[in-house]
Structure formats: C-alpha cells, structure tokens
C-alpha cells in the first residue's frame, strides 16, 4: 500500500518533469499521451491503494507514511508525510479519475495549439499539486499543496500569455490565492500554538485537551482556515478571480476551476472537522458565507452573457452548497455533492468547450444559437449536465444536493434559513442553466451552426481576443487553425461519454434508504464527529419532492422566457433595471475590492515612490550627512587628498580617537 500510495504522487510529477525537460524532443501527440498515461497510472494506483485500505479493519483505516524530515527543528515537526484514509482516498479517486478524462479530452481539444507540450506539463504538475493537497499528512505539506495548485492554476490561466487579459487574470488569481495561503498559515499558527504539532492526527488527538470548546484561539484559527478555503473555493468575498480565470483554455476550466481545485475548501473543512466542531462559531460563519455565495452567484448567473462565466458562477454557487454542508456537519453529503458536481460540471465545461471551438473562440451567448442540430452529441451532453445541475431526478445532482439540505433542515433552528435558501438557489440554478442551454442550442441557427450542419467549419481570418478585441498573437498557439469539436473527435467523445454516464448514474452510491456505499466508506473518517443527524422520513420525502419541483419549475420558466416568448426576458430586464444592473455588475464586488484594497496599496506605493523616497530618504537623510561630509571632504581635499585617502584618514582618526579614549579609561 505504501508503494502504490507514493506512486500516486510520483507518476504525475514524473509526467510533468519528463514533459518539462523533453519539450523540444517530444513529437506531436506523444506528449499528450505521456501526460494522460501518467494520470491514468495514478488513478490505477489509487484504486490499488483503496483495495488495500479496505482490507484493514475500519478503525485502523488511517495510515501516515513519512518520507523524510522536512523541517523538523526546535519543536516544529514538519515532515514529508502523507495520510491515507477514506477521506483522502475519496479525494484522490475523484481527482485522478476526472483528471484522466480531462487529459483525454485535451489530447484532442488542444491538438493544434503550439503550446501542446507545455500544456500537458502544466496539467500534470497541477494534478501532482492537487494530490499533495489531498494526501498531505500535516499542515505544512497541506499549505504546500495549497500553494502549488494556486501556482499551477496561475500558469494555466495565463497559458495564452500574449493576451494581457490572460496575464492579468492570472496575477489576480495568484494574489487572491496567496491571501488564502496566508489565512491558512496564520490559522495553522493558532492551532499549532495549542497543539504543538503540525501533524494532522496528532493535532486532532490533542485538540480536545489543548482548546476548550469555543476557545477564542481555536475560533480565530478556524476562521483563518476559512479564509484559505474561501479564497481557493471562490466564496464571497474572495471569489472575483474565478470568473476571470475563464481566460484559460477550456480543459483547464473543467479540471481546475470546476472539478478539483476549487473544491479544495470543501475538503479542507471536512479534513479539519475535529477543529471546526470545537469552534462552532467559525463553522457557522462558513455555513452563512456558503449560503450567501450560493444565492449571489446564482443571481449573477442569470444575467452573465459569457458562456463559460455562466458555468463559473454556477460553480461558485454549487460550492456554496458544499461549504454550507460541511460547515454544518453534513460531511458525507457535502463530499457526495463534490463528487457528482465534479462529474456534471466537468461535462458541462467540456460541452461548452466544444461549442466555443465551433464558434472559433467566441464565448458570448448573444452570438450563439441553434446549435442543436449541428452538434447533437454536444447538445446531449449539455442536456445531461444541465439536468444533473438543476437537480432533476434521477440524475446525480438530485440526490447529492438534497442530502445536504436534508441535514440542514433536520438540525432546525436558524439553519432553516439555510434550508430554504438552498431550495431558492436550486430554482435559480435551474433557470440560469437552462437559459444557457436554450440560448445556445435553440432558436435560430447562427452562421457557424449552419456551416457546421453543412459539414465545414468557419474560420476567422485573424483571431481577436473576445475579451479585449486585440488581435491574437498566434505565436503562442492560440487558438490554432482547426477547431476541435466533440462530434469529430473520438477522445473527446469518450471523455464526455464517460462523464455523462457518471453524471446520470453517479448518484447510486448514496440513494437515501437504498444504498449507503459512500456513507459506510467514509464512516471511519467521520466516526469521531459529534454531529449526528438522523433524518426523519417525512422531511426526506418532502425535500426530495421540493427539490424536484424547484428544478422543474426553473426549467419551465427558462423555457417560457427564452424559447416560447423570446422577447420577454428583455422586457423583464427593463422593468427591473436596477436589479439587473446590480446583477450584471456582479454586485459591484470588483469595484469595492478595488476601492478598499487595491487603490490604497497603489497609493501607498506611489507615495513611497514619488514623495517619501525622494524627499525624506534622499534629501533629508542623505542630503544632510552627505552635505556635511562634502563640506568636510572639501576641507580634506585642501590637504591634497583623494576620496579613498580621506576615507582612510577619517577612519584612522576615528579609530585612534576612540581607542585612545577607552584605553585611557581602562
């Protein structure tokens, strides 16, 4: 088990290194095949590790392996250690599984990009980082994985680095993620202060004695961990980087900004549940922020016209459910939703990528329409993903979302607000998801769709950046002469087909009252949880029905607005202009952050640069003494002396004077 566990980490790293070093030598598709094989191998090793772990008795299913001392000094016990338990294995399965499929998709989707090898090197490095994050056995290594995925995300967002829109989106994502890292580090300090160990299992064992329940330090620590979680999982107010991150190639959006990295915050809270359960105030903050994000992102999703950004806001919103769940003790349900979301959201992104390829890089929904006949396979996948996202039975999203809300509802009290908000969010989800589908695939066919129906694809003479309008620099390969759509590519079809299957049937691992595979698998990790909820049957049935109704109603509304009466959306928009303004300005988060943080810092920098350094440092501090010395050295020059000699003379005189003084004293 030890060997296979380490191999899970090593294979993607090896893939990244081989691709990174051999970028000149590797011909054509070989790089993609190496990259995909490395991740596929990691998936196989994960499965082997899983089988071995299941052989152990339930209470022993947590093993820490130590490679070497990393920074083990003066009481800080940081080691290169991995923790294998059901939770980390669950995450490893999701990460390696979905990654393999997305690599397969990218194999063909990125085929005409000149950065092909670089792309796969980055992608492998990302998977390696994500695996460090979920396998880390101590806080320090967790932070390392946390930052590495941030760096990989930066590299991939800025993949087409000649676009200034891509590089500025990259730096934005990186800096916000660094803020998250800082939260994580500071949180670790607070916890370390009490437990005196960085090791997860040691910390969790010591937390009971180190902190009384509701302790101030622990609450502060958990709140800071939440900052890390929010930044990585794009929760309010640290979410503004995620929509911009859609500058990256679509497989990146599917892998990093939907299925894996952005769910790290959910994993973090689930992993730290022994801490959060002793700091209920912090956990409640997490739950509330989850709800707020869920609703805010849902409303923005209703008005955004960029296809990928709609899905990005949807991702934020869905992660809001998960954060809400794991912050309220619904660990298994939250992770279940994480898994099903990974399936259907990756599928939606892949399908969107196919449409965008057909549109020659154009992502604006206003320009799309009528792709239903031109791209039947993509359409099918989009519909499956959309049904799962909207929570329509029996698709996977139906079960996972309702399970989270069920636990919330059963806890009662103020958590009813979360329960109700969750169903409101479900309705919004259905509306914006199907708005997207109806607008892209229904209605009158756009020229691109018509040409596609006739068997050829429209290529623009010169590519323009849809975001800024500048002409693309094709040096960096964007976007290549051919556009790769699912209908014409087997690897893309396979990847999307498997995900579509999982999006439909992924729910079977935890159908209420029928199967409990997932619960019993994760049971050993959460056995120590003090939050045990036994849902009543009536609430269960009520929730399932309510969820299905909310989803169907949302789809019906979307159908009415965008298919039956195409003009009505514009009329509603006019009637509620202020509200639409709020939503379409993304609730003004970018502006607020700009005013509150970016500008003060920029002002401080300019003040230091233009005023303080010049006037104070150079004039006062340097001007004074150097003026004095200049006067002095003018005197020395009178005695015929070069500069060095004056220095030496001054030094000698000083030495002699001091020495004389003190020796006389002695």
């Amino acid at each position: 088990m030890q060997t296979t566990a380490w191999l899970v980490l090593l294979l993607p790293l090896l893939g990244a290194v081989v691709l990174g070093l051999g970028f000149r030598a590797l011909p054509g598709k070989l790089a993609g095949i190496i990259g995909t094989a490395a991740i596929g191998g990691a998936f196989v090793c994960t499965v082997l590790t899983l089988l071995r772990l299941q052989d152990l008795p339930a209470e022993e299913r947590h093993v820490t392996y130590i490679a070497w001392d990393y920074a083990n000094t003066v009481g800080v016990d940081a080691q290169l250690s991995i923790l294998i338990d059901p939770l980390s294995l669950f995450m490893m399965l999701v990460v390696t599984g979905v990654s393999t499929l997305i690599h397969l998709y990218a194999l063909s989707y990125m085929a005409s990009d000149r950065g092909y090898v670089r792309f796969f090197a980055y992608l492998n490095f990302f998977v390696f980082s994500m695996l460090i994050l979920v396998m880390a056995g101590n806080f320090l290594l967790l932070i390392v994985g946390w930052a590495f995925v941030g760096a990989a995300s930066y590299l991939l967002i800025s993949f087409w680095y000649r676009r200034t829109s891509a590089t500025s989106a990259g730096i934005k994502a990186f800096v916000i993620n660094v803020v998250g890292d800082i939260g994580l580090v500071l949180g670790t300090y607070f916890i370390f202060k009490g437990t005196q160990t960085l090791d997860f299992q040691g910390s969790f064992a010591a937390v009971g004695e180190a902190f009384p329940k509701g302790d101030g330090d622990l609450t502060a620590g958990c709140l800071l961990l939440l900052v890390g979680a929010f930044a990585k999982s794009a929760q309010i107010p640290f979410h503004t980087w995620l929509p911009d991150a859609m500058e990256g190639p679509t497989p990146v959006s599917a892998l990093i900004h939907a299925a894996t990295m952005v769910t790290a915050g959910v994993y973090l809270i689930a992993r730290m549940h022994p801490l959060f359960e002793r700091a209920p105030a912090a956990a409640d903050v997490g739950a509330v922020v989850g709800l707020v994000t869920l609703l805010v992102a849902g409303t923005i999703g209703l008005v955004v016209t960029d296809l990928k950004r709609v899905i990005a806001y949807s991702t934020m919103s869905q992660i809001g459910y998960m954060i809400m769940g794991v912050s309220s003790g619904a660990y298994v349900a939250g992770l279940f939703h994480l898994m099903t979301h990974a399936f259907f959201k990756a599928l939606l992104f892949m399908a969107a990528g196919s449409v965008i390829a057909a549109m020659a890089g154009e992502q604006n929904l206003d320009r799309m329409g009528g792709f239903r006949k031109a791209m039947p396979f993509t359409f099918g996948c989009f519909v499956i993903g959309g049904l799962a996202l909207a929570g329509i039975p029996p698709f996977s999203g139906f079960f996972s979302k309702d399970e989270i809300l069920l636990v919330l509802g059963e806890q009662g009290g103020w958590k009813w607000i979360l329960y109700v908000g969750g169903y409101v969010g479900a309705f919004l989800t259905a509306v914006y998801t199907w708005r997207m589908i109806f607008r892209a695939f229904f209605g009158e066919a756009v020229p691109e769709a018509r040409e596609l129906e006739q068997g050829h694809l429209h290529h623009a003479e010169e590519h323009r950046n849809p975001a800024s309008g500048e002409i693309e620099d094709t040096d960096v390969g964007f976007p290549g002469p051919e556009h790769h759509i699912a209908e014409r590519s087997l690897p893309m079809k396979v990847a999307m087909g498997v995900l579509a299957f999982l999006a439909i049937f992924g729910g079977v691992v935890a159908i209420p009252k029928v199967t409990d595979t997932l619960d019993s698998f994760l049971e050993p990790t959460f056995a120590d949880s003090t939050i045990k909820v036994q849902p009543s049957d009536s609430l269960l049935v009520f929730g399932l029905v309510l969820g299905a109704v909310a989803g169907l109603a949302g789809i019906a509304l979307a159908y009415r607005l965008w298919v039956q009466q195409p003009g009505s959306a514009a009329r509603i928009q006019q009637r509620f202009a202020p509200l639409h303004g709020l939503f379409s300005h993304l609730w003004y988060f970018n502006e607020i952050i700009d005013r509150a943080i970016v500008r003060p810092f920029a002002f401080f920098g300019r003040f230091a640069q233009q005023t303080f350094e010049r006037l104070f440092i150079n004039d006062t501090l340097v001007g004074g003494p150097s003026g004095m010395v200049r006067a002095g050295s003018a005197a020395v020059r009178a005695v015929q002396s070069g500069f060095l000699r004056s220095y030496a003379a001054l030094l000698l005189a000083g030495v002699a004077g001091m020495a004389l003084y003190f020796l006389l004293q002695a």
Partner: protein, 534 residues
C-alpha cells in the same frame, strides 16, 4: 581529516594576487580557481560538520595583538556554516559569470573579487570582536573599487553615498566594539583586556552600557543590510554596480549584517537586545512594507530586486528579534535562501537587459518567453522562490520566522503577512512584464547560451534541492541558533524553575500537580502541553 579554516579563508585573496600578476585571460582563471577551492572546502565543512556537538568546531585560536587581547580566532558553528557555503558559492558563480565578459584591467577586477571573498569569509568566521570588525570594514574596500572603476555612469555619486553611510556605521561599530572590551574588563575582577567573543559572553556588561552599545551595532548592521530608513545608498549603489558584483554584494554582504546580530549582539548583549527588541521589530516591519511598496511601483529591474531585498532582510530582522528559536532558525535559513535566489535573479536581469538593448526598465521588456522558454522557466522558479511560495525553502524560512514573531508579538506577525502578499505582486509583475504579454519593442528573444546556463542552472538546481530538503540546513544550524538567543530569551521569557528544561523540554516534569497547565498567550512558558502518561 583536520580542516584548517585559515586555508579557505585566505585562498581567494592569494589567488586574487595571482590574478594581478598573470596576464590577460589567465586572471579570470586564477580568480575562479581561488573561489572554487574555497567552495570545495565549504562543502567539505558541511559534510564533516558534527551536528551532535554544540559550540564551535574547527577552531583556530592564536593570540594576535596580545597587548589589546585581540586573538586571531576562527571557528564554525551552526550560525555561520551555511553562510560560508553561500559566500563561496556565490563568489564562484559570479566569478564564472564575470569571466565571460570582457573588461579592462582584468587582473585588478579579479583581485578585488578575491579580496572581497576573503573579507566576507573572515567576517563570518571571526570569533574575536576586533577581528570581526576588521573584516567587516575590509569588506567595503574591494566593493568600493569594483564600483568606482567598473560601475555604471552614476558610479561616483553612488560610491560617495555608499561610503558615507557605511563609514558612519563602521565608526559606530568600532566604538561599540572597543567600548565592549574595555567595559567588560572593568566589570571583571582583574581579567585582562579581551576581544574574544566567548570570553566577552562571560563578562556581562551593565544594562545601561548594553543599551547604547547595541544601538551602535544595530546602526552599523542596519545600514549594511540595508533596512528602512537607512537604505538611502541602496538605489544608487544598486544601479551603479556591475551586475556580477551586485549579485554577490546583495547576496552576501547583507547577510553578514544579519549574522552580526546573531553572533555578536544577542549573545554578548542580551539585555540590550531585549531593550531594542520592539524598535527593531518595527524597523523590520517597516522595511517589509516599504520595500514591498517600492518594489511594486518601480520599473527598474535592478531596483525591484533591491527593494525586494530590503523587504526580505526585514523578515530576517523580524526573525532574529522575535527572540524565539523558530525565529532565529528561520532567519538563518532565510539568509541562506535569499542569497541563493537573489544572485540568479540579478543574473537573469543581466540576460534580460541584453535582450532589451541594454535597458533594465521592465517597460522596455516583454514577451520573450516564447523563444526563450528555458530562460523563462528558470526565471519562474527563481521568482516563485523569491516570493516564498510554499514548497520553497524560502517559505519554510518565512514560516519559521513568522511563527517566532507570532509567539512573541502577534500583531507584528499579522501585519508582516501583508508583505508576503505584496511579494507575490511585485515578483509576478516583474515576471509577467519581462516574459509574458506582447513582445517589447526592440527586444530580441533568444534562449540561454551554454555559458549562461553554466552559472544559472546549478544555482536553480540548488534552489530546488533545498526546496525538497531544507532540513539539511536546519539540522546543522539548530544548536547554533538556540545558543545564540538563549541568554536573551531567558530575559523575555523567564523560565519556571524546571531542571534541564532547555535541553529536553519534552521530558520536563509536569508543573505543580492538580493545576491545569497554564499557557498564557503573551509569555509562553515551555511547559509540556500534555503530561506523559505514566
């Protein structure tokens, strides 16, 4: 095998003299041999170093000026071991680099490089206060000539500023050193005058004298680092120095100043150090914030690195004056790491300037990653290490530093974290503006040449190696760091009388039975967090 420290200490200077004597191209060769041999010795030291011993190793101790009690005493312990390695490494790399450029009076250039190498090693190895001061001042002289004769157009102005600043610092330090020996003699009963550091440690000065003496030392060290607001010489100095000289200057000399705090100030003047703790922490903090703010507004590539060094040195000051073991360990590791990243960063700046018609302004650069992927990748690694991305040894060091500060002054630690965020802004800004975006007008994209790779690749490989295994340095510096701050920490955190608590805190007996282990937040007492089960 016995290792005599005098050999690696004087080798570079001797080969420097050889470089003066041999003609033309042989001079660079002589310079390289001298620094490379010192490097080989330093590596042997690391391999041979005994981590179980606390205290100095490889001691050379001769009476030098017996009338004044000055000894020629050299020694190595955890504090200086890796700084010695860093010094020889960077001098070797920069000599190799400088040897690839043509310049006039080549022999003189390499003589000064060799002399500087010896002076820095001397300051690091010296275990006698007078010897330390002598080497510390000697360091400046070769750099004065290297800048004044081989530097950029503004070199006269730069050298003037540099000399005035450091002259004031040096004089203050000299005064302080002499005062220390004399006052210590007065305090001891009938002992002679001595400058040997270990002897001075045994003769504590009155707290009043410690206060002003530490002030004087601190002024000298802070100027050398440089720290805010004493960095006025830095912008001109950094712009004027030839790049290979600047790389060692920035990589090594600032570290000697930081090292001075740990070698001289904290052990000999614990009370003075504690007295100055808060002001120095604030200076460190101000350096971080101010340096970062300057680094993200300036467009001169050299100054971005210069101000980032001000910020990084601010972190090192924070670590030292947290007066915690973690802080001291982090500061030592960061000193090594910062040298290891800043030298290749300056090298990259040189390569970038060569591709932007000699301009070092990042507004004239851009977009060369496509045709120079290797250079871009190496620069990316260096940039990420500089901004202390978790996973780099720089992060490990910052983690320890801020953990130390967190334990002594929480608020300062929290504010200092803004510096971490700003570092990511200015380093990525520099990376993107030079490598990504549209190609700058007039830039030429070409990748590394073999000669460039010979300098750059080993340094980057070392950055990666230490990222994987910082324990190599931490294990060796541990005892030195703990001993250095021991005396000062005993003042800030008076221990509950518990026998052998300093040696083995984990096995110390539990406090008074029946009482909950009290862990007050401000003054943390090293009490075991849980009583061992019987």
């Amino acid at each position: 095998v016995t290792i005599h420290l005098s050999i690696p200490l004087w080798l570079p200077a001797i080969f420097g003299v050889v470089a003066l004597l041999v003609p033309g191209r042989l001079a660079r060769f002589a310079g390289l041999v001298g620094s490379a041999m010192a490097l080989a010795y330093a590596v042997a030291l690391v391999a041979d170093f005994d981590t179980t011993k606390s205290g100095l190793q490889y001691v050379t101790d001769r009476s030098w000026i017996s009338e004044l009690g000055i000894h020629y005493k050299l020694g190595v312990d955890g504090l200086n071991l890796f700084l010695i390695v860093l010094t020889s490494l960077l001098f070797s790399a920069c000599t190799l680099w400088a040897g690839q450029e043509r310049r006039e009076r080549e022999g003189l250039f390499f003589f000064h490089m060799g002399l500087a190498h010896t002076a820095v090693l001397g300051a690091l190895m010296a275990q006698d206060l007078a010897l330390f001061v002598a080497f510390f001042d000697l360091m400046l002289i070769p750099f004065f000539f290297l800048t004044g004769q081989y530097g950029g157009p503004e070199r006269v102005r730069a050298v003037t500023k540099l000399v005035i600043y450091t002259l004031v610092g040096s004089l203050l330090m000299l005064t302080a050193a002499i005062a220390t020996a004399v006052l210590a003699k007065q305090g001891s009963d009938g002992g002679g005058l001595t400058f040997v550091i270990s002897e001075l440690q045994k003769r504590p000065l009155s707290s009043g004298s410690q206060h002003w003496i530490v002030g004087f030392f601190a002024a000298a060290f802070l100027v050398k680092m440089p720290a805010f607001p004493l960095h006025g010489w830095m912008p001109d100095g950094y712009r004027a120095m030839p790049l290979p000289v600047l790389a060692v200057f920035s990589g090594v000399l600032s570290k000697v100043a930081a090292y001075g705090f740990l070698r001289v100030v904290l052990p000999i003047f614990p009370e003075g150090a504690v007295f100055w703790q808060t002001p120095l922490l604030l200076i460190g903090l101000a350096s971080i914030l101010y340096g970062s703010a300057m680094a993200f507004t300036t467009t001169d590539a050299r100054l971005i690195l210069g101000y980032s060094s001000v910020a990084q040195l601010g972190f090192i000051v924070l670590g030292i004056f947290s007066i915690q073991e973690e802080g001291a360990q982090g500061a030592l590791l960061q000193s090594f790491n910062h040298g290891l990243v800043v030298a290749p960063a300056f090298f990259v700046v040189g390569l970038l300037a060569a591709r932007a018609r000699g301009s070092q302004d990042i507004r004239d650069m851009g977009g060369i990653a496509f045709r120079a992927p290797v250079l871009a990748a190496l620069f990316l690694i260096v940039a990420l290490a500089t901004l202390a991305m978790p996973g780099s040894a720089n992060f490990t060091a910052e983690f320890l530093i801020l953990l130390g500060v967190f334990q002594s002054k929480v608020v300062i630690a929290i504010v200092a974290f803004t510096g971490v965020a700003m570092a990511s802004v200015y380093m990525l800004r520099a990376f993107i503006r030079t490598m990504h975006n549209r190609q700058g007008e007039g830039t030429v994209s070409r990748d590394l040449r073999l000669g460039d790779a010979l300098v750059l690749v080993p340094l980057v490989a070392l950055i990666l190696a230490f990222a994987l295994y910082p324990q190599l340095a931490l294990k060796r510096s541990e005892r030195g760091a703990v001993r250095s701050i021991e005396a000062a920490k005993a003042i800030t955190e008076p221990e509950v009388p518990a026998p052998a608590a300093a040696q083995a805190p984990a096995q110390a007996p539990a406090p008074v039975s029946g009482q909950e282990a009290p862990v007050p937040s401000e003054t943390q007492v090293p009490v075991p967090q849980e009583a061992p089960a019987p």
